[in-house]
């Protein structure tokens, strides 16, 4: 019964900010255990959409249902992990102290602290104060918080920004492993070469979806060689001037 409910179901979602429409009547569903990629240029509304999923965004119209409950409900706060694009961790605490605090807030088992630190590859920096981490390490510390408590849905805003290719590869292996265990992931990125690692892509531009489909499907439909070209093709098509 539970597994038939999609992890995310969004209907007619509209968000306005300062009189400007940021998201225009979006509708989509994410099945459980899949990895959804949100791809689009900076400022296209990816972050706003993710904020809607975790229930911290004021919504103008539409419904957002997460794991069968309205987004942001009390019951969801342990079941959804969220990593913002700008790291939201305490710079004056060590990596381990940060994890310990957030684990206590989530009521996650204490063993989770070391597990998530290892999962993001910060094992050697456990006791380092966050302020002294490099940009990429800081990003991974931020991601680790979202993994605490093994949430059913992970909403990750640009989790691989500023990472070298090896680390990026490792994180994507982790994401695939999580989805293999039935976890659902919504991952945003503006890098096209990551998009091929997802099960399904939503291409966003100016608060709208330009396309929705599996990565290879999108390249096939547009008759292009790669996703970058597919995206460009779709933008031109959308603007009414075919390339």
């Amino acid at each position: 019964m539970m597994s038939s409910v999609p992890a995310v179901s969004v209907q007619g979602l509209r968000v306005e900010r300062g009189g400007r429409t940021v998201l225009r009547d979006l509708s989509f569903e994410v099945p459980r255990g899949s990895v959804l990629g949100l791809i689009g240029p900076s400022g296209c509304g990816k972050t706003t959409l993710m904020r809607c999923l975790v229930g911290v965004q004021i919504v103008k119209a539409g419904t957002v249902t997460v794991l069968g409950e309205p987004a942001g409900s009390k019951g969801l706060r342990r079941r959804v992990g969220y990593a913002t694009q700008t790291p939201a961790v305490y710079a004056d605490l060590s990596v381990r102290e940060n994890m310990r605090y957030f684990a206590a807030v989530l009521g996650a088992p204490r063993t989770d602290v070391d597990r998530v630190i290892d999962e993001v590859g910060l094992g050697h920096h456990r006791d380092q104060v966050v302020a002294t981490l490099s940009g990429g390490q800081l990003n991974r510390a931020n991601l680790a918080v979202a993994l605490l408590g093994d949430p059913e849905l992970l909403v990750l805003d640009e989790p691989t920004v500023g990472l070298d290719p090896v680390l990026r590869e490792e994180l994507w292996e982790l994401f695939r492993e999580l989805s293999g265990r039935g976890r659902t992931l919504v991952v945003s990125s503006h890098v096209m070469d990551e998009a091929v690692r997802t099960d399904r892509l939503l291409l966003m531009r100016e608060g709208e979806f330009l396309a929705d489909g599996a990565p290879d499907e999108l390249t096939r439909l547009t008759g292009t060689a790669d996703l970058e070209a597919a995206f460009l093709h779709l933008i031109h098509e959308h603007a009414g001037s075919p390339a």
Binding site: G18, I58, R78, Y82, Y90, L93
Partner: protein
Amino acid sequence: MSLSITLATTRRILAQLRHDHRTLALLIGVPSLLMILLRYVFDQPVLFDRIGPLLLGLFPFVIMFVVTSVGTLRERTGGTLERLMTMPTGKLDLLLGYALAFGLLSLAQVGVVLLISLTWLGLDLSGPVWSLVLVAVLDALLGMALGLFASAFARTEFQAVQFMPAFVLPQVLLCGLFIPRDGMATWLRVISDVLPLSYAVDGMQRVSREASFSSSLLWDVVVIAAFTLGALALGAATLRRRTA
């Protein structure tokens, strides 16, 4: 509201302070230094006995106001507040976590100044020491609660620091520290009646003059506590799960 989240928050704030040796040294050292200066600037034990306790109430108030308003502003702008709001954290957990951490800190702060004042500086108190500690810690919590509330109106740390003179200095002028409140023009007197620091200073004056814990002192304590709870409630209202 959850006790374990509240206590985890208290532990986290204390851990942050433990990493920040300079802030800790300033928090404990500055009031003591000012007290020592005060003692030798006045150089009259009678005057020091009168003013000293007032400042023992004022320092924790001012310092906690600044520390809390900047601290919570950092929590707001750094994204950690939003992250906590996506977690099972209740607003009360966060506020009480802060109150408990800064309450303990002010206890240490007041303890050190009091120890120096009573021994080295020869401060002479008429009332019991515990009543002074009680009023001083309440003053600290009042400053903390107002700081939490004020931080909601600041966008930057520059603004937050400016709130100190804006929120605090008018109260310092009107609280009876410089001129007895009875001697003020009626309209100033009325304003000072609704400002919490007036009761904080009045309480301290009673502690230094009256031999026992009087009912007037109890009234001061109740008013300070009520202001603190009111400011905490207002502060809670400024913590929002959903933002634009």
